[in-house]
């Protein structure tokens, strides 16, 4: 099955082409069906690949070369796929969650006139994402990397008539581009120093002493790749696009901005684990950036009222956790969290989509409340999601998050303390969201109240499936205190393994678990207590600061966007038109002016003319006799 791995991206591509070319004439439901079936087919192939990789007969990574992509001089970059544990796992996550979200979308988007186009974009996204994870070299990853950025752009701006939405789309693309530039530079450095972009060659040469490559070069490469990751995975300083990206349809947020695309950065660093192992200083930076992002996003999420914005900041925060894990060397753990997060965050987003669907497009939780009575399935699944993300034992999020905390503790106590605070905040804002949405009394308009209903089966089935996954997904990676046999880590071990020098005793681990569970439960309780009878008033002080997202967008605007615009305007108006072009035109003007002056010599007077001649004679004689010699 692994030999035909190219089928995995091929199906979405075909789906994209069919929907993309015939989008105008295709019936909506057919378009949806084609899109969904394409991903389902991919999922099935992915399953086959996964099990083949899992089987004992599979030895090492398998490279499937399609054709020569760029070949010049002594550089050969093939268009090739690499099948190994990591890529096959991501295949499963992408196609699996993807199938569910496609299914969900068939219902969610049914009233939208651009539904076929939507599915085309979605298929294209899945195709790009699959390229990203399947590529056997950085260039193919980069193709997918930029491809998912493009699809994200297209889907955020899906309702293109709204300028705000298209602005958000543009912002996302540009922010991603900044990161992509980092990736590109890293790639060029690799190519320049190692002459290859293929993972296996590159990693093979990493320790090669015959290549005289300074240590700093490794650091630069690692840093550049990480910059790429901060763009795609919404880390400080490039995170601000992700909350804005909620302008797109909700399933898109679920698929792209929660479950798959944003985890590309984690995938990339995990993929390059061999490199990062050699650059501890960069890993340290990653840990700090990840943690800061986790905290910053969590603080903002506390004071948001838009249901999707809360989830968006929560995603940023969770991604921060993953980077923290990477930073402390717990690659497997990070990937584990990617997987569990994909389940519960997709679940939460889809749940919020269901809520928004029921509310007729309303997203402000101040106008919700008491929805649980009307939509039981949504409420239940959403609750599972909240529990999972908060880290209640027994659910998937608990296992993955706890592993991160443990790894962090092993690395540094300070980082652990901060991470724990972030985790506490997570529990608080998630349950604030849950309580405000589903409990209490309905605060919306009468019309909305009348309209409230449970979503159709096509939407609830994915919710249920994802809820189940959110519960059981964690059991593949039980912590060592519970089970010595970590299935997940074992599966990934040929490609990725945790890189940590510290080992915690079982006692400590139990203690940490107990601590985190305790604080989380306390936070949940507080959230319930504070929000069961909500009062919304103009916030002040720090609350206002949080509500306005620390004014990050405004700061960026003032520090970067405005100056660039100002400089550009100045360049355009003054330097280009009057400066450079002014000089060019000035030459012409000078000639004309000179012509006018010289013309005046032509007085029409013979006397003047002879005078000029005589002066000419005098001057030339002087030059000739007294100046040259």
């Amino acid at each position: 099955m692994a030999n035909v791995v190219y089928l995995v991206p091929l199906f979405p591509l075909i789906g994209f082409l069919i929907n993309g070319i015939f989008w105008k004439k295709m019936p909506k439901s057919l378009g949806g069906a084609i899109g969904t079936v394409a991903i389902l087919a991919s999922f099935i192939v992915s399953l086959g690949v996964f099990f083949e990789v899992k089987s004992a007969s599979f030895h090492g990574p398998l490279t499937v070369t399609l054709f020569d992509f760029i070949s010049t001089g002594n550089i050969h970059i093939p268009f090739a796929f690499q099948v190994d544990a990591l890529s096959s796992l991501f295949l499963l996550i992408i196609t699996g969650v993807g199938t569910l979200i496609h299914l969900y979308s068939t219902s969610y988007m049914h009233d939208d006139e651009g539904m076929v186009k939507y599915f085309a974009y979605l298929n294209l996204f899945v195709f790009s994402m699959l390229l990203l994870v399947l590529g056997a070299n950085y260039l193919i990853m980069f193709i997918g990397w930029e491809g998912v950025g493009l699809c994200s752009y297209l889907l955020i701006g899906f309702w293109f008539k709204n300028r705000d939405y298209t602005n958000a789309a543009k912002k996302a693309f540009v922010m991603n581009r900044i990161g992509d530039l980092g990736f590109l530079v890293g790639m060029l450095l690799v190519l320049f120093n190692f002459g290859t972009l293929t993972y296996l060659d590159f990693f093979g040469k990493l320790g090669d002493a015959s290549l005289i490559i300074p240590k700093s070069t490794y650091n630069w490469i690692a840093l550049c790749f990480f910059i790429g990751a901060t763009g795609k995975s919404a880390q400080i300083p490039l995170y601000t696009w992700l909350p804005d990206a909620m302008a797109g349809p909700t399933p898109v947020s679920a698929l792209i901005h929660a479950a798959t695309m944003v985890t590309a950065g984690i995938y990339m660093i995990a993929r390059s684990g061999a490199l990062y192992s050699l650059t501890p200083s960069i890993l340290h930076i990653i840990a700090v950036v990840g943690l800061l992002t986790a905290i910053l996003a969590a603080t903002i999420a506390i004071r948001q009222y838009d249901i999707k914005k809360v989830l968006a900041y929560s995603t940023v925060s969770q991604l921060g956790f993953m980077f923290l894990a990477l930073g402390v060397g717990a690659y497997t753990t990070a990937v584990f969290h990617v997987m569990t997060h994909a389940f519960f965050k997709a679940l939460l987003f889809l749940g919020s989509g269901s809520v928004i669907h029921a509310m007729g497009g309303e997203q402000d939780i101040r106008n919700m409340g008491g929805l649980g009575k009307h939509m039981r399935v949504t409420q239940a699944t959403f609750f599972v999601g909240c529990l999972a993300i908060a880290g209640i034992p027994g659910l998937s999020g608990f296992f993955s998050k706890d592993e991160i905390l443990a790894a962090t503790f092993a690395h540094s106590t300070l980082l652990y303390a901060l991470a724990l605070i972030a985790a506490m905040m997570t529990a608080f804002y998630m349950f604030r969201l849950y309580v405000l949405t589903f409990n209490g009394k309905f605060r919306g308009t009468e019309e909305q109240h009348h309209h409230l209903h449970e979503s159709p089966a096509a939407m609830t089935i994915p919710l249920v499936i994802l809820a189940i996954l959110s519960i059981v997904g964690g059991y593949v990676g039980l912590p060592s205190v519970i089970s010595e046999h970590n299935t997940f880590a074992t599966y990934l071990s040929p490609v990725v393994h945790n890189f940590s020098h510290h080992h915690l005793s079982h006692g400590t681990e139990w203690g940490l678990m107990g601590l985190s569970v305790t604080v989380v439960i306390i936070m949940i309780a507080i959230a319930y207590a504070v929000h069961s009878k909500p009062k919304f008033k103009e916030s002040t002080g720090i609350a206002k600061l949080l509500e306005n997202k620390w004014y990050m967008d405004e700061i960026y605007d003032a520090l970067i966007v405005k100056p660039i615009e100002g400089i550009s305007n100045a360049l355009d108006k003054f330097v280009d038109r009057h400066g450079i072009d002014g000089i060019v035109n000035g030459v012409g003007k000078t000639v004309r002016w000179g012509g006018d002056r010289l013309r005046m010599l032509q007085t029409g007077q013979v006397g003047t003319y002879i005078f000029i001649m005589v002066m000419g004679i005098v001057v030339l004689f002087t030059i000739s006799f007294f100046w040259i010699k």
Partner: protein, 461 residues
């Protein structure tokens, strides 16, 4: 030699024709035939002179007939024939003495032939005078027009003044070289111990020639005289006559002063640069096309001076091909100009719509003057540039000249812009006949032929 005799005889014949024939058109027709015969005689001379033949010295070494000069004579006679054919009608309209005008043109050619073959400063002097005096007359030939008289008087006064300069130069040179024979002078002058008299003489002669070829600082007469003279004669004065002066200039400096070029090259380079500057920059501001062409002729003189500057084989070919390309294009342009009533740029507005052929040929002539490739003008410019670049040490001048050539685009293309891109209906002074069209097409073809296949001529020169 036959040509000199023939042109003198034809001149006298024309004088008698003036008495015997009253019809202007018949006079013009006879003149055209005589010019054609003259061209034939030149070809006859040409056949006798091959590139490898030794030079012929005649009349006590007064004349030296060699390959280049015969070629030059032939080419210039050809241009004159073309000129006479294109301008015949206009010449007839200038005044009542049509036969005399043609006689003067024959005499000018006589002077030109002498200038192309002189081997003695006396012959050069007489040649220049024979070339000049008819011009003074032609400039003033439009009796009805005050401007013509003014041009004539200005030209005459300044021309005589320059004669004084020239003669002083010759006298001083004689004081140093003790001979009037061009080749003997060359033998008498030595770079190492150059008599100041010789240098002063060379400078005076150079300046006198600068006047004749309208180079700065002796150019000041040019715009006024060219502007004031009857247009058909301006066309002749600014082309063939000027080329003749140039050839004489080149001849003297190549033959006599070649060995001491280091003493005068810089001065001539300064003159060249000043000429290019004045000609091009001043032309930019002109409103009248005729006057613009006067300045353009100063500018073109700057380029022709390159040939004088370059003391090598390319220079000879360069001056011939430049003279030909420049003369043909300018004569062509003047023949378009005389068809119009209004000589300002605005007078050309919309010509492309009413007279596409005139506009097209005028464009080709302008391209040639501007030095656009595949026209004769390009090859000419190219050739003189090649000649001077080969000298090596004058690259600054070459670059300066090219910048000036770029300026020249401005005023040449203004005509094209007026003809093609501006609305308007130009007033036509005289009807454009089929004969005119044919001649224009032939002229145009000549310009292009010179640019596309210059080796047809170059191989033989």
């Amino acid at each position: 030699m036959k040509a000199i005799i023939a042109t003198t005889v034809f001149g006298i014949v024309m004088m008698f024709t003036g008495i015997l024939v009253n019809n202007k058109r018949s006079v013009a027709a006879i003149a055209a035939v005589l010019f054609a015969v003259l061209l034939g005689i030149n070809f006859f001379d040409l056949a006798a002179a091959s590139p490898n033949a030794t030079d012929t010295l005649v009349f006590n070494k007064m004349l030296r007939i060699e390959h280049y000069s015969v070629w030059f004579n032939t080419v210039m006679t050809g241009c004159t024939l073309l000129y006479v054919l294109l301008m015949s009608k206009e010449i007839q309209r200038v005044g009542s003495h049509v036969a005399e005008y043609f006689a003067l043109i024959f005499f000018i050619l006589c002077g030109l032939y002498i200038l192309a073959t002189y081997n003695n400063l006396l012959m050069m002097f007489i040649g220049i005078e024979i070339l000049s005096i008819p011009q003074y007359v032609l400039a003033g030939s439009d009796r009805k027009n005050l401007k013509s008289a003014e041009a004539s008087l200005k030209y005459f006064l300044m021309g005589s003044f320059t004669t004084g300069i020239l003669l002083m130069g010759i006298a001083l040179l004689f004081g140093a070289a003790r001979s009037f024979n061009v080749m003997e002078i060359a033998a008498m002058l030595h770079t190492d111990a150059l008599n100041p008299l010789a240098l002063a003489g060379i400078l005076f002669i150079m300046l006198a020639f600068a006047f004749k070829v309208s180079a700065a600082p002796m150019h000041t007469w040019t715009p006024d005289v060219y502007d004031g003279s009857p247009t058909p004669f301006t066309a002749y004065m600014s082309t063939v006559v000027k080329a003749g002066a140039f050839f004489a200039f080149l001849r003297l400096f190549q033959v006599s002063f070649n060995g001491i070029s280091e003493h005068w090259t810089l001065i001539l380079a300064i003159i060249t640069a000043a000429t290019l500057l004045v000609g091009n920059v001043t032309a930019v501001f002109q409103q009248s096309v005729k006057r613009m062409l006067a300045y353009s002729s100063i500018a073109q003189a700057g380029f022709m001076l390159f040939a004088v500057l370059a003391v090598n084989k390319f220079a000879w070919q360069g001056i011939i091909i430049y003279a030909m390309a420049y003369s043909v294009a300018t004569i062509g342009l003047f023949s378009v100009l005389v068809k119009l009533k209004d000589f300002t740029y605005d007078g050309f507005n919309g010509l492309a719509r009413t007279e596409p052929l005139l506009a097209f040929t005028a464009s080709i002539f302008l391209f040639s003057l501007a030095g656009i490739p595949l026209t004769g003008g390009f090859m000419a410019k190219y050739y003189v540039l090649l000649a001077v670049v080969q000298q090596g040490h004058l690259m600054w001048l070459v670059i300066f000249a090219l910048l000036m050539a770029a300026i020249s685009i401005y005023y040449y293309f203004r005509v094209i812009i007026a003809m093609y891109f501006k609305p308007g209906t130009p007033e036509i002074a005289s009807p454009v006949t089929a004969g005119d069209r044919t001649l224009l097409i032939i002229t145009c073809a000549l310009v292009i032929l010179l640019g596309v296949a210059p080796q047809l001529f170059l191989n033989r020169i």
